[in-house]
Protein backbone atom coordinates (compact mmCIF):
# COMPACT_ATOMS: atom_id res chain seq x y z
CA UNK A 1 0.00 0.00 0.00
CA UNK A 2 2.91 2.34 0.59
CA UNK A 3 4.07 2.11 -3.02
CA UNK A 4 3.91 5.45 -4.85
CA UNK A 5 2.06 5.53 -8.16
CA UNK A 6 2.90 9.16 -8.97
CA UNK A 7 6.13 10.85 -8.11
CA UNK A 8 7.05 14.37 -9.10
CA UNK A 9 10.40 15.86 -8.29
CA UNK A 10 11.21 19.53 -8.90
CA UNK A 11 8.64 19.55 -11.70
CA UNK A 12 8.85 22.84 -13.56
CA UNK A 13 7.01 24.34 -16.52
CA UNK A 14 8.09 27.60 -18.08
CA UNK A 15 6.30 29.59 -20.75
CA UNK A 16 8.57 32.21 -22.31
CA UNK A 17 10.78 32.23 -19.26
CA UNK A 18 7.95 32.57 -16.75
CA UNK A 19 7.56 29.59 -14.45
CA UNK A 20 3.92 28.51 -14.31
CA UNK A 21 4.83 25.49 -12.24
CA UNK A 22 7.91 26.11 -10.20
CA UNK A 23 9.81 23.09 -8.94
CA UNK A 24 7.05 21.17 -7.20
CA UNK A 25 7.55 17.77 -5.60
CA UNK A 26 4.88 15.41 -4.35
CA UNK A 27 3.92 11.78 -4.45
CA UNK A 28 0.68 9.87 -4.54
CA UNK A 29 0.47 6.45 -2.89
CA UNK A 30 -1.46 3.53 -4.35
CA UNK A 31 -5.13 3.65 -3.44
CA UNK A 32 -4.98 7.19 -2.16
CA UNK A 33 -7.16 10.16 -3.08
CA UNK A 34 -4.85 13.13 -3.44
CA UNK A 35 -6.16 16.66 -3.94
CA UNK A 36 -4.42 19.50 -5.74
CA UNK A 37 -6.00 22.65 -4.39
CA UNK A 38 -5.50 26.25 -5.19
CA UNK A 39 -6.86 29.26 -6.99
CA UNK A 40 -7.33 29.26 -10.75
CA UNK A 41 -4.06 29.82 -12.55
CA UNK A 42 -1.99 28.32 -9.75
CA UNK A 43 -0.59 25.60 -12.01
CA UNK A 44 -2.84 22.64 -11.18
CA UNK A 45 -3.92 21.81 -14.73
CA UNK A 46 -0.41 22.35 -16.09
CA UNK A 47 0.90 19.87 -13.52
CA UNK A 48 -1.72 17.33 -14.56
CA UNK A 49 -0.91 17.75 -18.26
CA UNK A 50 2.78 17.21 -17.56
CA UNK A 51 2.01 14.01 -15.65
CA UNK A 52 0.03 12.76 -18.66
CA UNK A 53 2.73 13.65 -21.16
CA UNK A 54 0.37 16.11 -22.87
CA UNK A 55 2.65 19.02 -22.08
CA UNK A 56 6.44 19.12 -22.11
CA UNK A 57 8.30 19.23 -18.82
CA UNK A 58 10.74 22.16 -18.71
CA UNK A 59 12.83 20.64 -15.96
CA UNK A 60 12.52 18.15 -13.13
CA UNK A 61 11.22 14.63 -13.22
CA UNK A 62 7.91 12.86 -13.18
CA UNK A 63 7.22 9.16 -12.79
CA UNK A 64 3.78 7.72 -13.27
CA UNK A 65 3.53 4.02 -12.38
CA UNK A 66 7.26 3.92 -12.94
CA UNK A 67 7.04 5.35 -16.48
CA UNK A 68 8.41 8.63 -17.70
CA UNK A 69 5.49 10.56 -19.25
CA UNK A 70 7.66 12.38 -21.80
CA UNK A 71 9.49 9.29 -23.04
CA UNK A 72 6.77 6.66 -22.64
CA UNK A 73 3.51 8.58 -22.99
CA UNK A 74 1.59 5.63 -24.42
CA UNK A 75 2.47 3.39 -21.46
CA UNK A 76 1.28 6.13 -19.10
CA UNK A 77 -1.87 6.90 -21.06
CA UNK A 78 -2.82 3.23 -21.27
CA UNK A 79 -2.92 3.01 -17.48
CA UNK A 80 -4.13 6.45 -16.48
CA UNK A 81 -7.63 7.79 -16.99
CA UNK A 82 -8.09 11.52 -17.40
CA UNK A 83 -11.20 13.61 -16.90
CA UNK A 84 -10.40 17.11 -18.19
CA UNK A 85 -11.85 20.31 -16.80
CA UNK A 86 -15.30 20.70 -18.41
CA UNK A 87 -14.92 17.48 -20.35
CA UNK A 88 -16.31 17.53 -23.88
CA UNK A 89 -17.94 14.82 -25.97
CA UNK A 90 -19.14 14.67 -29.54
CA UNK A 91 -22.64 16.09 -29.23
CA UNK A 92 -23.91 14.43 -32.39
CA UNK A 93 -23.00 10.96 -31.11
CA UNK A 94 -24.78 8.99 -28.39
CA UNK A 95 -23.24 8.19 -25.02
CA UNK A 96 -22.44 4.65 -26.15
CA UNK A 97 -20.96 5.83 -29.47
CA UNK A 98 -18.69 8.29 -27.68
CA UNK A 99 -17.47 5.56 -25.36
CA UNK A 100 -17.07 3.15 -28.27
CA UNK A 101 -14.76 5.59 -30.06
CA UNK A 102 -12.67 6.02 -26.90
CA UNK A 103 -12.62 2.27 -26.29
CA UNK A 104 -11.36 1.64 -29.82
CA UNK A 105 -8.63 4.22 -29.32
CA UNK A 106 -7.71 2.36 -26.12
CA UNK A 107 -7.34 -0.75 -28.23
CA UNK A 108 -10.01 -2.77 -26.42
CA UNK A 109 -11.01 -5.87 -28.37
CA UNK A 110 -14.35 -5.85 -30.12
CA UNK A 111 -15.60 -8.79 -28.04
CA UNK A 112 -15.15 -7.07 -24.68
CA UNK A 113 -16.03 -3.59 -25.85
CA UNK A 114 -19.82 -3.65 -25.69
CA UNK A 115 -19.95 -5.43 -22.32
CA UNK A 116 -17.56 -2.91 -20.82
CA UNK A 117 -19.50 0.04 -22.21
CA UNK A 118 -22.79 -1.30 -20.83
CA UNK A 119 -21.28 -2.09 -17.45
CA UNK A 120 -19.58 1.26 -17.06
CA UNK A 121 -22.66 3.24 -18.09
CA UNK A 122 -24.68 1.30 -15.52
CA UNK A 123 -22.02 1.97 -12.91
CA UNK A 124 -22.22 5.74 -13.32
CA UNK A 125 -26.04 5.70 -13.56
CA UNK A 126 -26.35 6.52 -17.25
CA UNK A 127 -27.76 3.16 -18.36
CA UNK A 128 -31.10 4.65 -19.40
CA UNK A 129 -29.54 7.28 -21.66
CA UNK A 130 -27.12 4.93 -23.43
CA UNK A 131 -28.56 5.73 -26.85
CA UNK A 132 -29.30 9.40 -26.29
CA UNK A 133 -27.16 12.02 -27.97
CA UNK A 134 -24.67 13.64 -25.65
CA UNK A 135 -25.84 17.05 -26.91
CA UNK A 136 -28.85 16.72 -24.59
CA UNK A 137 -26.75 15.87 -21.51
CA UNK A 138 -26.32 18.09 -18.46
CA UNK A 139 -22.94 19.03 -17.02
CA UNK A 140 -23.24 16.35 -14.36
CA UNK A 141 -24.09 13.65 -16.89
CA UNK A 142 -21.09 14.59 -19.02
CA UNK A 143 -18.81 14.36 -16.00
CA UNK A 144 -20.22 10.94 -15.19
CA UNK A 145 -19.76 9.87 -18.79
CA UNK A 146 -16.13 10.95 -18.43
CA UNK A 147 -15.83 8.71 -15.38
CA UNK A 148 -17.41 5.85 -17.33
CA UNK A 149 -14.60 6.25 -19.86
CA UNK A 150 -12.05 5.89 -17.05
CA UNK A 151 -13.87 2.75 -15.85
CA UNK A 152 -13.71 1.23 -19.34
CA UNK A 153 -9.99 1.86 -19.40
CA UNK A 154 -9.66 0.00 -16.08
CA UNK A 155 -7.18 2.70 -15.18
CA UNK A 156 -4.89 2.31 -12.19
CA UNK A 157 -4.86 6.05 -11.68
CA UNK A 158 -7.71 8.46 -12.31
CA UNK A 159 -6.72 12.09 -12.82
CA UNK A 160 -9.71 14.38 -12.45
CA UNK A 161 -9.42 18.08 -13.21
CA UNK A 162 -12.06 20.14 -11.41
CA UNK A 163 -14.54 17.25 -11.44
CA UNK A 164 -17.19 19.05 -9.40
CA UNK A 165 -17.01 22.60 -10.73
CA UNK A 166 -20.27 23.85 -12.12
CA UNK A 167 -22.32 20.99 -10.73
CA UNK A 168 -25.40 21.36 -8.56
CA UNK A 169 -25.17 19.92 -5.02
CA UNK A 170 -27.02 16.73 -5.91
CA UNK A 171 -24.80 16.03 -8.91
CA UNK A 172 -21.73 16.81 -6.82
CA UNK A 173 -22.68 14.27 -4.18
CA UNK A 174 -23.30 11.60 -6.82
CA UNK A 175 -19.97 12.32 -8.48
CA UNK A 176 -18.06 12.21 -5.21
CA UNK A 177 -19.69 8.86 -4.43
CA UNK A 178 -18.41 7.47 -7.73
CA UNK A 179 -14.95 8.81 -6.91
CA UNK A 180 -15.07 7.05 -3.52
CA UNK A 181 -16.04 3.84 -5.27
CA UNK A 182 -13.04 4.20 -7.54
CA UNK A 183 -10.90 4.27 -4.43
CA UNK A 184 -12.55 1.12 -3.10
CA UNK A 185 -11.68 -0.60 -6.35
CA UNK A 186 -8.04 0.20 -5.67
CA UNK A 187 -7.75 3.09 -8.09
CA UNK A 188 -5.53 5.96 -7.01
CA UNK A 189 -7.16 9.32 -7.61
CA UNK A 190 -5.49 12.65 -8.24
CA UNK A 191 -8.02 15.45 -8.34
CA UNK A 192 -7.72 19.19 -8.61
CA UNK A 193 -10.24 21.67 -7.33
CA UNK A 194 -10.87 25.11 -5.99
CA UNK A 195 -14.08 23.96 -4.28
CA UNK A 196 -12.76 23.10 -0.87
CA UNK A 197 -15.69 21.98 1.19
CA UNK A 198 -16.54 19.14 -1.18
CA UNK A 199 -13.00 18.05 -1.73
CA UNK A 200 -12.26 17.85 1.97
CA UNK A 201 -14.74 15.03 2.34
CA UNK A 202 -13.00 12.71 -0.14
CA UNK A 203 -9.30 13.54 -0.05
CA UNK A 204 -6.83 11.57 2.01
CA UNK A 205 -4.14 14.16 1.46
CA UNK A 206 -4.03 17.51 -0.23
CA UNK A 207 -1.41 19.84 -1.70
CA UNK A 208 -2.13 23.54 -1.56
CA UNK A 209 -0.97 25.35 -4.70
CA UNK A 210 0.07 28.94 -4.73
CA UNK A 211 1.54 30.62 -7.81
CA UNK A 212 3.08 27.48 -9.21
CA UNK A 213 4.46 26.32 -5.89
CA UNK A 214 3.12 23.80 -3.43
CA UNK A 215 2.66 25.83 -0.28
CA UNK A 216 1.49 23.06 1.99
CA UNK A 217 1.05 19.35 1.69
CA UNK A 218 -0.46 16.78 4.03
CA UNK A 219 -3.72 15.54 5.52
CA UNK A 220 -6.39 18.12 6.26
CA UNK A 221 -5.93 17.97 10.09
CA UNK A 222 -2.17 18.27 9.58
CA UNK A 223 -2.59 21.37 7.52
CA UNK A 224 -5.02 22.72 10.09
CA UNK A 225 -2.37 22.40 12.78
CA UNK A 226 0.23 24.05 10.56
CA UNK A 227 -1.84 26.97 9.38
CA UNK A 228 -4.41 27.61 12.08
CA UNK A 229 -2.23 26.46 14.95
CA UNK A 230 -4.34 23.97 16.91
CA UNK A 231 -7.10 22.87 14.69
CA UNK A 232 -9.94 21.90 17.00
CA UNK A 233 -12.45 24.26 18.49
CA UNK A 234 -14.76 22.66 21.05
CA UNK A 235 -17.80 24.49 22.25
CA UNK A 236 -19.13 23.54 25.66
CA UNK A 237 -22.42 24.76 27.05
CA UNK A 238 -22.93 23.67 30.64
CA UNK A 239 -24.31 24.88 33.96
CA UNK A 240 -22.16 24.54 37.02
CA UNK A 241 -19.52 26.14 39.21
CA UNK A 242 -15.88 26.62 38.19
CA UNK A 243 -16.19 24.64 35.02
CA UNK A 244 -13.90 26.87 33.01
CA UNK A 245 -10.94 26.18 35.28
CA UNK A 246 -11.49 22.46 35.25
CA UNK A 247 -11.81 22.38 31.50
CA UNK A 248 -8.73 24.51 31.02
CA UNK A 249 -6.77 21.90 32.97
CA UNK A 250 -7.49 19.17 30.39
CA UNK A 251 -4.25 18.18 28.63
CA UNK A 252 -4.18 19.40 25.05
CA UNK A 253 -6.32 22.47 25.67
CA UNK A 254 -4.41 25.58 24.70
CA UNK A 255 -6.85 28.33 25.43
CA UNK A 256 -10.32 28.81 26.92
CA UNK A 257 -12.58 31.66 25.94
CA UNK A 258 -15.89 32.62 27.48
CA UNK A 259 -18.60 32.90 24.89
CA UNK A 260 -21.65 34.16 26.75
CA UNK A 261 -23.57 32.74 29.70
CA UNK A 262 -22.62 29.15 30.45
CA UNK A 263 -20.70 28.83 27.21
CA UNK A 264 -17.00 28.39 26.71
CA UNK A 265 -14.87 27.85 23.65
CA UNK A 266 -11.87 25.51 23.92
CA UNK A 267 -8.99 25.63 21.52
CA UNK A 268 -7.23 22.29 21.45
CA UNK A 269 -4.81 20.37 19.26
CA UNK A 270 -7.07 17.33 19.31
CA UNK A 271 -10.69 16.41 19.88
CA UNK A 272 -11.12 16.88 23.63
CA UNK A 273 -14.85 16.28 23.83
CA UNK A 274 -14.71 13.12 25.98
CA UNK A 275 -12.44 14.79 28.53
CA UNK A 276 -14.54 17.95 28.55
CA UNK A 277 -17.71 15.96 29.15
CA UNK A 278 -16.01 14.00 31.94
CA UNK A 279 -14.78 17.23 33.52
CA UNK A 280 -18.25 18.79 33.52
CA UNK A 281 -19.84 15.69 34.96
CA UNK A 282 -17.10 15.32 37.59
CA UNK A 283 -17.74 18.90 38.71
CA UNK A 284 -21.38 18.10 39.16
CA UNK A 285 -22.43 20.43 36.30
CA UNK A 286 -25.21 19.94 33.75
CA UNK A 287 -23.92 19.43 30.25
CA UNK A 288 -26.24 21.11 27.73
CA UNK A 289 -24.27 21.02 24.55
CA UNK A 290 -20.94 19.82 23.26
CA UNK A 291 -19.76 20.32 19.75
CA UNK A 292 -16.53 20.25 17.85
CA UNK A 293 -15.51 22.19 14.83
CA UNK A 294 -12.88 20.34 12.84
CA UNK A 295 -10.37 22.43 10.93
CA UNK A 296 -12.05 23.16 7.67
CA UNK A 297 -10.10 23.31 4.47
CA UNK A 298 -11.93 26.52 3.74
CA UNK A 299 -10.52 28.11 6.89
CA UNK A 300 -7.03 26.79 6.20
CA UNK A 301 -7.14 28.03 2.66
CA UNK A 302 -8.49 31.46 3.53
CA UNK A 303 -6.07 31.92 6.39
CA UNK A 304 -3.14 30.76 4.34
CA UNK A 305 -3.82 33.11 1.47
CA UNK A 306 -4.55 35.99 3.83
CA UNK A 307 -1.20 35.63 5.52
CA UNK A 308 0.54 35.20 2.18
CA UNK A 309 -1.38 37.91 0.39
CA UNK A 310 1.79 39.88 -0.17
CA UNK A 311 3.24 37.05 -2.25
CA UNK A 312 0.15 36.71 -4.35
CA UNK A 313 -0.17 40.19 -5.77
CA UNK A 314 1.54 39.19 -8.99
CA UNK A 315 -1.07 36.55 -9.68
Amino acid sequence: MSENVIEARDLTKRYNGTAVVNGISFSVARGEIFGLLGPNGAGKTTTILMLLGLSDISSGQARVLGYDPTREPLAVKRRVGYLPDQVGFYDNLTAAENLRYAARLMGIERGEREDKITASLRHVGLADVTDKRVGTFSRGMRQRLGLAEILIKEAQIAILDEPTSGLDPQATVELLNIIRELKHQGVSVLLSSHLLERVQSVCDRVALFNQGNIALIGTVPDLGRQVLGGGFRVEVEAEGQGLAERIAAIPGVQRVEAAGANRVLLFADRDVRPEAAAAVVAAGGRLLRLSVEEPSLEAIYTRYFQTHAGERHAA
Binding site: T46, P73, L74, Y82, P84, F89, A102, R104, L105
Partner: protein, 316 residues
Protein backbone atom coordinates in the same frame (compact mmCIF):
# COMPACT_ATOMS: atom_id res chain seq x y z
CA UNK B 1 15.40 10.05 -28.36
CA UNK B 2 12.96 7.54 -29.79
CA UNK B 3 9.38 7.56 -28.69
CA UNK B 4 7.85 4.33 -27.53
CA UNK B 5 5.21 2.71 -29.74
CA UNK B 6 3.97 3.55 -33.22
CA UNK B 7 3.04 7.11 -34.16
CA UNK B 8 0.20 5.66 -36.19
CA UNK B 9 -1.43 3.67 -33.40
CA UNK B 10 -5.11 4.60 -33.48
CA UNK B 11 -4.81 6.10 -36.97
CA UNK B 12 -7.38 3.74 -38.48
CA UNK B 13 -9.88 4.36 -35.70
CA UNK B 14 -9.60 8.13 -36.10
CA UNK B 15 -9.89 7.91 -39.88
CA UNK B 16 -13.04 5.78 -39.79
CA UNK B 17 -14.67 8.07 -37.25
CA UNK B 18 -13.81 11.19 -39.23
CA UNK B 19 -15.11 9.74 -42.51
CA UNK B 20 -18.35 8.78 -40.76
CA UNK B 21 -18.56 12.33 -39.38
CA UNK B 22 -18.04 13.86 -42.82
CA UNK B 23 -20.73 11.80 -44.46
CA UNK B 24 -23.23 12.61 -41.72
CA UNK B 25 -22.28 16.29 -41.60
CA UNK B 26 -25.05 18.40 -43.07
CA UNK B 27 -22.58 21.00 -44.34
CA UNK B 28 -20.52 18.48 -46.29
CA UNK B 29 -23.54 16.65 -47.68
CA UNK B 30 -25.10 19.93 -48.85
CA UNK B 31 -21.86 21.04 -50.50
CA UNK B 32 -21.36 17.74 -52.28
CA UNK B 33 -24.96 17.52 -53.47
CA UNK B 34 -24.77 21.12 -54.68
CA UNK B 35 -21.60 20.55 -56.67
CA UNK B 36 -22.77 17.24 -58.12
CA UNK B 37 -26.13 18.72 -59.12
CA UNK B 38 -24.51 21.75 -60.76
CA UNK B 39 -22.03 19.54 -62.57
CA UNK B 40 -24.76 17.29 -63.93
CA UNK B 41 -26.68 20.33 -65.19
CA UNK B 42 -23.56 21.68 -66.88
CA UNK B 43 -22.85 18.35 -68.55
CA UNK B 44 -26.36 18.11 -69.92
CA UNK B 45 -25.84 21.52 -71.47
CA UNK B 46 -22.52 20.34 -72.88
CA UNK B 47 -24.15 17.26 -74.41
CA UNK B 48 -26.66 19.42 -76.29
CA UNK B 49 -23.92 21.70 -77.53
CA UNK B 50 -21.67 18.85 -78.68
CA UNK B 51 -24.51 17.22 -80.60
CA UNK B 52 -25.05 20.40 -82.60
CA UNK B 53 -21.49 21.40 -83.43
CA UNK B 54 -18.99 18.62 -83.81
CA UNK B 55 -19.70 15.41 -85.59
CA UNK B 56 -16.27 14.26 -86.71
CA UNK B 57 -14.26 15.24 -83.63
CA UNK B 58 -12.07 12.23 -82.63
CA UNK B 59 -12.13 13.29 -78.98
CA UNK B 60 -15.83 13.93 -78.70
CA UNK B 61 -16.10 12.51 -75.25
CA UNK B 62 -13.49 14.81 -73.72
CA UNK B 63 -15.47 17.83 -74.92
CA UNK B 64 -17.97 16.91 -72.18
CA UNK B 65 -15.55 18.41 -69.71
CA UNK B 66 -14.50 21.47 -71.66
CA UNK B 67 -17.65 22.56 -73.51
CA UNK B 68 -20.96 23.71 -72.19
CA UNK B 69 -22.29 27.23 -72.27
CA UNK B 70 -20.65 29.97 -70.29
CA UNK B 71 -19.14 27.68 -67.66
CA UNK B 72 -17.69 24.34 -68.76
CA UNK B 73 -17.35 21.54 -66.21
CA UNK B 74 -13.63 22.02 -65.58
CA UNK B 75 -14.11 25.72 -64.84
CA UNK B 76 -16.87 24.78 -62.44
CA UNK B 77 -14.60 22.24 -60.76
CA UNK B 78 -11.73 24.68 -60.40
CA UNK B 79 -14.18 26.96 -58.62
CA UNK B 80 -16.26 24.62 -56.51
CA UNK B 81 -13.89 21.82 -55.49
CA UNK B 82 -12.03 24.23 -53.17
CA UNK B 83 -15.37 24.99 -51.53
CA UNK B 84 -15.96 21.33 -50.65
CA UNK B 85 -12.36 20.99 -49.50
CA UNK B 86 -12.58 24.04 -47.23
CA UNK B 87 -15.93 22.80 -45.90
CA UNK B 88 -14.25 19.51 -44.96
CA UNK B 89 -11.26 21.03 -43.23
CA UNK B 90 -11.96 24.39 -41.65
CA UNK B 91 -13.05 23.06 -38.24
CA UNK B 92 -11.01 19.86 -38.13
CA UNK B 93 -8.74 20.73 -35.22
CA UNK B 94 -10.23 23.87 -33.67
CA UNK B 95 -13.56 22.02 -33.53
CA UNK B 96 -11.96 19.51 -31.15
CA UNK B 97 -10.63 22.39 -29.07
CA UNK B 98 -13.97 24.14 -28.95
CA UNK B 99 -15.91 20.99 -28.07
CA UNK B 100 -13.25 20.36 -25.41
CA UNK B 101 -12.73 16.87 -26.74
CA UNK B 102 -9.08 17.28 -27.70
CA UNK B 103 -7.47 16.68 -24.32
CA UNK B 104 -9.78 13.75 -23.64
CA UNK B 105 -8.95 12.09 -26.95
CA UNK B 106 -5.23 12.78 -26.57
CA UNK B 107 -5.29 11.21 -23.10
CA UNK B 108 -6.07 7.93 -24.84
CA UNK B 109 -3.00 5.87 -25.74
CA UNK B 110 -2.38 7.54 -29.12
CA UNK B 111 0.03 10.16 -30.37
CA UNK B 112 -1.08 13.46 -31.83
CA UNK B 113 0.28 12.24 -35.16
CA UNK B 114 -2.45 9.64 -35.40
CA UNK B 115 -5.16 12.23 -34.84
CA UNK B 116 -3.84 14.63 -37.47
CA UNK B 117 -2.97 11.95 -40.05
CA UNK B 118 -6.38 10.41 -39.47
CA UNK B 119 -8.12 13.71 -40.07
CA UNK B 120 -6.05 14.43 -43.17
CA UNK B 121 -6.58 11.03 -44.75
CA UNK B 122 -10.29 11.05 -43.86
CA UNK B 123 -10.70 14.43 -45.53
CA UNK B 124 -8.88 13.30 -48.67
CA UNK B 125 -10.90 10.09 -48.71
CA UNK B 126 -14.21 11.94 -48.44
CA UNK B 127 -13.12 14.36 -51.14
CA UNK B 128 -12.08 11.47 -53.41
CA UNK B 129 -15.36 9.64 -52.91
CA UNK B 130 -17.32 12.78 -53.77
CA UNK B 131 -15.25 13.46 -56.88
CA UNK B 132 -15.41 9.84 -58.04
CA UNK B 133 -19.19 9.96 -57.75
CA UNK B 134 -19.22 13.18 -59.73
CA UNK B 135 -16.88 11.75 -62.36
CA UNK B 136 -18.94 8.58 -62.80
CA UNK B 137 -22.13 10.59 -63.12
CA UNK B 138 -20.56 12.79 -65.81
CA UNK B 139 -19.28 9.76 -67.73
CA UNK B 140 -22.69 8.11 -67.41
CA UNK B 141 -24.56 11.15 -68.66
CA UNK B 142 -22.08 11.46 -71.48
CA UNK B 143 -22.65 7.85 -72.55
CA UNK B 144 -26.41 8.19 -72.50
CA UNK B 145 -26.48 11.67 -74.00
CA UNK B 146 -23.94 11.30 -76.77
CA UNK B 147 -24.54 7.67 -77.58
CA UNK B 148 -20.85 7.30 -78.44
CA UNK B 149 -18.61 5.24 -76.17
CA UNK B 150 -15.29 6.86 -75.23
CA UNK B 151 -12.12 5.24 -76.53
CA UNK B 152 -9.34 4.06 -74.27
CA UNK B 153 -7.31 7.23 -74.71
CA UNK B 154 -10.25 9.38 -73.69
CA UNK B 155 -10.92 7.26 -70.62
CA UNK B 156 -7.27 7.48 -69.62
CA UNK B 157 -7.30 11.25 -69.99
CA UNK B 158 -10.54 11.53 -68.00
CA UNK B 159 -8.94 9.40 -65.30
CA UNK B 160 -5.93 11.71 -65.16
CA UNK B 161 -8.37 14.60 -64.79
CA UNK B 162 -9.97 12.83 -61.81
CA UNK B 163 -6.62 12.31 -60.09
CA UNK B 164 -5.54 15.88 -60.72
CA UNK B 165 -8.85 17.23 -59.41
CA UNK B 166 -8.37 15.21 -56.20
CA UNK B 167 -4.85 16.63 -55.83
CA UNK B 168 -6.23 20.12 -56.44
CA UNK B 169 -8.90 19.60 -53.77
CA UNK B 170 -6.20 18.17 -51.49
CA UNK B 171 -4.32 21.45 -51.66
CA UNK B 172 -7.33 23.43 -50.46
CA UNK B 173 -8.14 20.84 -47.81
CA UNK B 174 -4.58 21.04 -46.47
CA UNK B 175 -4.89 24.83 -46.42
CA UNK B 176 -8.17 24.70 -44.46
CA UNK B 177 -6.67 22.10 -42.10
CA UNK B 178 -3.67 24.36 -41.46
CA UNK B 179 -5.94 27.30 -40.63
CA UNK B 180 -8.04 25.07 -38.38
CA UNK B 181 -4.85 24.40 -36.40
CA UNK B 182 -3.62 27.99 -36.36
CA UNK B 183 -6.93 29.69 -35.52
CA UNK B 184 -8.91 28.69 -32.45
CA UNK B 185 -12.16 29.98 -33.90
CA UNK B 186 -13.73 27.89 -36.65
CA UNK B 187 -15.35 30.99 -38.15
CA UNK B 188 -11.98 32.71 -38.47
CA UNK B 189 -10.45 29.63 -40.08
CA UNK B 190 -13.34 29.37 -42.56
CA UNK B 191 -13.24 33.05 -43.49
CA UNK B 192 -9.47 33.15 -43.87
CA UNK B 193 -9.57 29.99 -46.02
CA UNK B 194 -12.29 31.48 -48.22
CA UNK B 195 -10.38 34.75 -48.39
CA UNK B 196 -7.23 33.01 -49.57
CA UNK B 197 -9.28 31.01 -52.06
CA UNK B 198 -10.92 34.15 -53.52
CA UNK B 199 -7.58 35.93 -53.66
CA UNK B 200 -5.68 33.12 -55.36
CA UNK B 201 -8.49 32.10 -57.71
CA UNK B 202 -9.87 35.47 -58.82
CA UNK B 203 -7.66 38.36 -57.78
CA UNK B 204 -4.21 36.88 -58.32
CA UNK B 205 -4.67 36.08 -62.03
CA UNK B 206 -5.79 39.71 -62.50
CA UNK B 207 -3.00 41.36 -60.58
CA UNK B 208 -0.05 39.07 -61.19
CA UNK B 209 0.70 40.31 -64.78
CA UNK B 210 1.15 43.87 -63.51
CA UNK B 211 3.36 42.63 -60.71
CA UNK B 212 5.38 40.52 -63.14
CA UNK B 213 5.85 43.47 -65.47
CA UNK B 214 7.09 45.55 -62.57
CA UNK B 215 9.92 43.17 -61.75
CA UNK B 216 10.82 41.79 -65.19
CA UNK B 217 13.81 43.05 -67.17
CA UNK B 218 13.28 40.88 -70.25
CA UNK B 219 12.86 42.90 -73.38
CA UNK B 220 11.20 40.46 -75.77
CA UNK B 221 7.55 39.51 -75.75
CA UNK B 222 8.15 35.85 -74.91
CA UNK B 223 10.31 36.76 -71.94
CA UNK B 224 7.58 39.01 -70.58
CA UNK B 225 5.02 36.26 -71.11
CA UNK B 226 7.22 33.73 -69.32
CA UNK B 227 7.58 35.97 -66.28
CA UNK B 228 3.87 36.66 -66.20
CA UNK B 229 3.10 32.97 -66.37
CA UNK B 230 5.55 32.12 -63.59
CA UNK B 231 3.87 34.70 -61.36
CA UNK B 232 0.39 33.50 -62.22
CA UNK B 233 1.39 29.94 -61.37
CA UNK B 234 1.62 30.82 -57.69
CA UNK B 235 -2.13 30.29 -57.74
CA UNK B 236 -3.15 26.62 -57.58
CA UNK B 237 -6.21 27.42 -59.69
CA UNK B 238 -3.95 28.58 -62.51
CA UNK B 239 -1.94 25.36 -62.20
CA UNK B 240 -5.12 23.31 -62.30
CA UNK B 241 -6.42 25.11 -65.37
CA UNK B 242 -3.10 24.65 -67.19
CA UNK B 243 -3.08 20.93 -66.41
CA UNK B 244 -6.66 20.50 -67.50
CA UNK B 245 -6.16 22.41 -70.76
CA UNK B 246 -3.32 20.12 -71.77
CA UNK B 247 -4.65 16.81 -70.46
CA UNK B 248 -8.14 17.15 -71.91
CA UNK B 249 -7.04 18.32 -75.36
CA UNK B 250 -4.48 16.15 -77.18
CA UNK B 251 -3.88 18.94 -79.70
CA UNK B 252 -2.52 21.30 -77.03
CA UNK B 253 1.22 20.86 -76.77
CA UNK B 254 2.22 23.78 -74.60
CA UNK B 255 0.76 25.50 -71.58
CA UNK B 256 1.49 28.75 -73.38
CA UNK B 257 -0.44 27.82 -76.48
CA UNK B 258 -3.70 29.53 -75.68
CA UNK B 259 -1.92 32.62 -74.46
CA UNK B 260 0.26 32.82 -77.53
CA UNK B 261 -2.71 32.31 -79.76
CA UNK B 262 -4.46 35.12 -77.99
CA UNK B 263 -1.45 37.31 -78.61
CA UNK B 264 -1.69 36.50 -82.29
CA UNK B 265 1.58 34.60 -82.39
CA UNK B 266 1.66 31.52 -84.54
CA UNK B 267 2.89 28.37 -82.88
CA UNK B 268 5.02 27.68 -85.89
CA UNK B 269 7.55 30.10 -84.42
CA UNK B 270 8.31 27.50 -81.81
CA UNK B 271 8.43 24.68 -84.29
CA UNK B 272 5.15 23.09 -83.43
CA UNK B 273 2.62 21.77 -85.90
CA UNK B 274 -0.77 22.84 -84.70
CA UNK B 275 -3.60 20.39 -84.13
CA UNK B 276 -1.57 17.21 -84.50
CA UNK B 277 -2.62 15.13 -81.49
CA UNK B 278 0.06 13.98 -79.06
CA UNK B 279 -0.08 10.84 -76.89
CA UNK B 280 -1.33 10.99 -73.30
CA UNK B 281 2.11 10.43 -71.82
CA UNK B 282 3.45 13.45 -73.68
CA UNK B 283 0.55 15.56 -72.48
CA UNK B 284 1.18 14.50 -68.88
CA UNK B 285 4.87 15.23 -69.28
CA UNK B 286 4.13 18.77 -70.41
CA UNK B 287 2.18 19.51 -67.22
CA UNK B 288 4.20 17.27 -64.91
CA UNK B 289 5.76 20.28 -63.15
CA UNK B 290 2.31 21.68 -62.47
CA UNK B 291 1.07 18.35 -61.06
CA UNK B 292 4.15 18.05 -58.86
CA UNK B 293 3.63 21.65 -57.79
CA UNK B 294 0.07 20.96 -56.61
CA UNK B 295 1.06 17.84 -54.68
CA UNK B 296 4.12 19.54 -53.20
CA UNK B 297 2.00 22.49 -52.08
CA UNK B 298 -0.41 20.09 -50.37
CA UNK B 299 2.43 18.29 -48.57
CA UNK B 300 4.08 21.56 -47.57
CA UNK B 301 0.85 22.93 -46.06
CA UNK B 302 0.27 19.67 -44.19
CA UNK B 303 3.80 19.62 -42.82
CA UNK B 304 3.51 23.21 -41.55
CA UNK B 305 0.21 22.32 -39.91
CA UNK B 306 1.75 19.17 -38.43
CA UNK B 307 4.63 21.09 -36.85
CA UNK B 308 2.32 23.77 -35.44
CA UNK B 309 -0.02 21.10 -34.05
CA UNK B 310 2.80 19.16 -32.37
CA UNK B 311 3.99 22.29 -30.59
CA UNK B 312 0.56 23.51 -29.62
CA UNK B 313 -0.60 23.41 -26.01
CA UNK B 314 -3.50 21.06 -25.42
CA UNK B 315 -5.35 23.25 -22.97
CA UNK B 316 -7.72 25.87 -24.23
Amino acid sequence: MRREGSALHGFGVVTLKEVADHFTSILVVVLVVLVVATAVAVVRGAVDQIKEITAEDPYLFLRLFTRGGPLPLVALLSFLVPLIAIGLGFDAVNGEHNRRTLSRILSQPIYRDALLFGKFVAGLFTLSISLIVLWLLVIGFGLVGLGVPPNAEEMARALVLLVVTIAYGGFWFALALLFSIVFRSAATAALVSLGVWLFLTILWPLFSPALADAVTTAGDVLGVLDTRQMFARLSPSVLFNEIVAVVLDPSVRSTQQSMLAAMGLALIERGAIPDAPIPLLQSVLIVWPQIVGLVAGTILLFVIGYIVFQRQEVRA
